[in-house]
Amino acid sequence: MSAATLAAPGAGFLRRRRRGYRLLTLPALVVVAAVIVFPWLFTLYMSAFDWKIGEAAHFVGLANFANLAVDRRFLEAIVHTFYFTLLAVVIPLVAGTLAALVFHRQFRGRGVLRAVFTMPMMATPVAVALVWTMMFHPQQGVLNYLLTSVGLPPSQWVYSPTWVIPSLVMVEAWHWTPLVMLIVLGGLASLPTEPFESARIDGAGEWQLFTYVTLPLIAPFLMMAAVIRTIDAVKAFDTIFVISQGGPGTASETINIYLYLQAFAFYNMGKASAMVVVFFAIIVALALLLLHVRQRLKWTG
């Protein structure tokens, strides 16, 4: 609606009314300022100090950032975070899509099986992590029992520096594939049937149907799932902390884990704040990238 044309007779009244409207946004603004803007600015401020809880703070300017740039552990943590995120997005995405395709078909017991498949999602992450920790145990765990009972060599799982991240991703994938499945299933259900029918008439096979019709049509839903998974994977903490605590050594130490150590185990608040700032920059960059990709994948509009 256009306020200007309506406002002709009683402009003053409307202007006053509009001021009233602005006033109404105030509570929201205050809340946002208090819980988002202020902590953010305070973090930025703290990142310029050398401050350990319990000691005096010294202003150090950008020294915290300069130190981070040469902190091997931090740089490795960034690499681990990306590695973990990549796997923890791609694997559930592929598996979830496959599951959705299966559950989209009509077969007996579909409803029950769908419900069973979504159950992992409802479990508490820490409880899930604890159960997996037991299953990963190289001598007593059920996973190695299964491997050896089919004649495969046992693995060290999360106890090996090389396999720890893929193993952690396995837990994430088990936990969150159902979420991707639900999103994609919703997408599949909403698709029009005409394109499929015409493609069939044109003689498309199952694989062609999937790659040329289904996949492009559900792309926006996949994108949605990818965004949600990325957010979850980047901020993953509980699974890693409970199962490996970033180990063995620092082999699975992500930014979050290192950040937690610096802030709440070593109490280096200045350094931790600087890490948060860098982490935030990385997340913003990642978000922009995703938005860009999403814009290109739009099939409506």
Partner: protein
């Protein structure tokens, strides 16, 4: 504990405490006599702070549970109303730092672990010196005998200048759990030296049968005390008189190599990620010949519903190393906040919490290993006391040879982290000397900064 009475260094400790307890005039006398004398005047009275309130901050642990459970007893004894809060260790440590830092903590009494918080508390003067209270005959309970407290615990409770900042409460010396059946099957005896530990591990290691010669913590941070158990026996230490780390000396490297050998050759695969619980699981199943860890695991090991090796567990005192026989010690204590406005009631609570009855309850509930030797005697008289006698003997012997298992510094978590990573890397094949040098170089500035601040 009789040999401890003859220990000359204990006499020194006692004398220092007596100095604290009865002033310079009573030098050489036992604190007990000063207290008895005071008691004769009838001055001590549990009820003297009747009607006051007290706030206590405890750590969530079986010991915290006990103090909370029997709190009513204290309230009835003294007429003091107690509000106690019990929160998980990690959060409790954070809360303590933040609240002490504010200058107005919500608690008067705090239970804390020496190996993590002692230096931090001392540096900031967050705890109140107890000597004036110990000295005051009207305030010290008649059963507060310091010669009843284990030396290791008292050392932890005191500052180098003689101030008594807390009462020690629970000890956790490190011992070797050994599976007697596995040892007997190969005709191997319990090791009497470090070299024999390695030899025994080599002989008993039998991967074909799924039996490891040795198991212990490999997980970074958690693993440091395993190494320091060896380090102390090699005559090594943490920091010299000038505040420089001595963690890359030949002794340190030798002990790290011993850790590396045991953990990479004779321990199960994946041990680099083991904490105490994974180690315990393996040992409980009879799949490990030796397990080096804190003393507090007798209960699960002797519990037939959890353990396959009930009655077959040996509780071994850490054998002598090339230079010394030392059991790495961890401990917790209980102190009063220097900001407290209710120090009298707080002092009564400290004495109650550390009395023989409460200490014996700890033993009976398998909630820890008391500092007071009288508690062992009391607990063993009870019919429902289940811990084997061998465990009690091991505890008493270990407490007598115990030394702090970690440096008494403020950034102890960072120390454990940095050296823990070095140790984990060693299990995975890195060179011990290189790793220790790297860790030492990395940690020295952190230490310098913390001691300067």
């Amino acid at each position: 504990m009789t040999d401890r009475k003859r220990d000359p260094s204990l006499d020194k400790t006692r004398r220092r405490l007596v100095q604290a307890g009865a002033g310079a005039a009573a030098l050489g006398a036992l604190p007990g006599t000063a207290i008895v004398a005071a008691h004769a005047q009838g001055a001590f009275d549990w009820k003297r702070f009747k009607g006051q309130k007290l706030e206590v901050l405890l750590t969530k642990s079986p010991r915290g549970d006990l103090l909370t459970k029997y709190q009513k007893e204290f309230e009835e004894l003294t007429g003091i109303e107690v509000g106690s809060e019990m929160i998980p260790e990690q959060q409790q440590r954070q809360k303590a730092v933040i609240e002490f830092n504010s200058g107005n903590p919500s608690f008067d009494v705090i239970n804390f672990s020496y190996h993590v918080q002692k230096r931090q508390f001392a540096k900031n003067n967050w705890l109140n010196d107890l000597r004036t209270y110990i000295k005051d005959p009207s305030l010290a309970a008649p059963d507060l005998h310091f010669d009843d407290f284990a030396k290791g615990g008292l050392n932890y409770a005191m500052e180098p200048d003689g101030r008594v900042m807390s009462l020690p409460f629970n000890l956790d010396p490190w011992i070797i759990y050994w599976n007697k059946e596995i040892f007997a099957a190969k005709g191997v005896a319990y090791p009497t030296s470090f070299a024999e530990i390695v030899n025994a591990a080599a002989k008993l290691n039998d991967p074909g049968k799924g039996i490891s010669g040795f198991v212990g913590r490999g997980l970074k941070n958690a693993n440091v005390p395993v190494w320091t158990s060896f380090l102390l026996g090699y005559g090594g230490g943490f920091i010299d008189a000038n505040g420089k780390l001595i963690t890359d000396t030949p002794e340190a490297i030798e002990s790290a190599k011993m850790y590396q050998t045991l953990m990479s050759k004779y321990a199960p695969s994946g041990v680099a990620g083991f904490n105490w619980n994974e180690s315990q699981t393996l040992f409980l199943q009879g799949k490990a010949a030796m397990w080096l860890d804190g003393i507090g695991f007798a209960q699960p090991l002797e519990d037939p519903t959890k353990s396959r090796i009930v009655g077959k567990v040996g509780y071994g005192v850490m054998p002598p190393g090339p230079k010394a026989q030392v059991s790495a010690l961890f401990a917790d204590g209980i102190g009063m906040s220097s900001f407290s406005k209710r120090k009298g009631p707080a002092w009564l609570y400290l004495q109650w919490a550390c009395n023989t009855t409460n200490q014996a309850r700890m033993l009976q509930a398998a909630a820890g290993a008391p500092v007071r030797s009288s508690a062992y005697a009391l607990a063993q008289k009870s019919a429902d006391f289940k811990s084997p006698k061998e465990w009690v003997d091991c505890m008493l012997k270990s407490a007598a040879i115990a030394q702090p298992g970690l440096p008494v510094i403020a950034p102890v978590t960072e120390f454990r982290d940095v050296f823990g990573i070095a140790l984990t890397n060693m299990i995975n094949g890195a060179d011990a000397a290189t790793e220790l040098k790297k860790a030492t170089v990395e940690f020295q500035p952190v230490l310098d900064k913390s001691e300067k601040a």
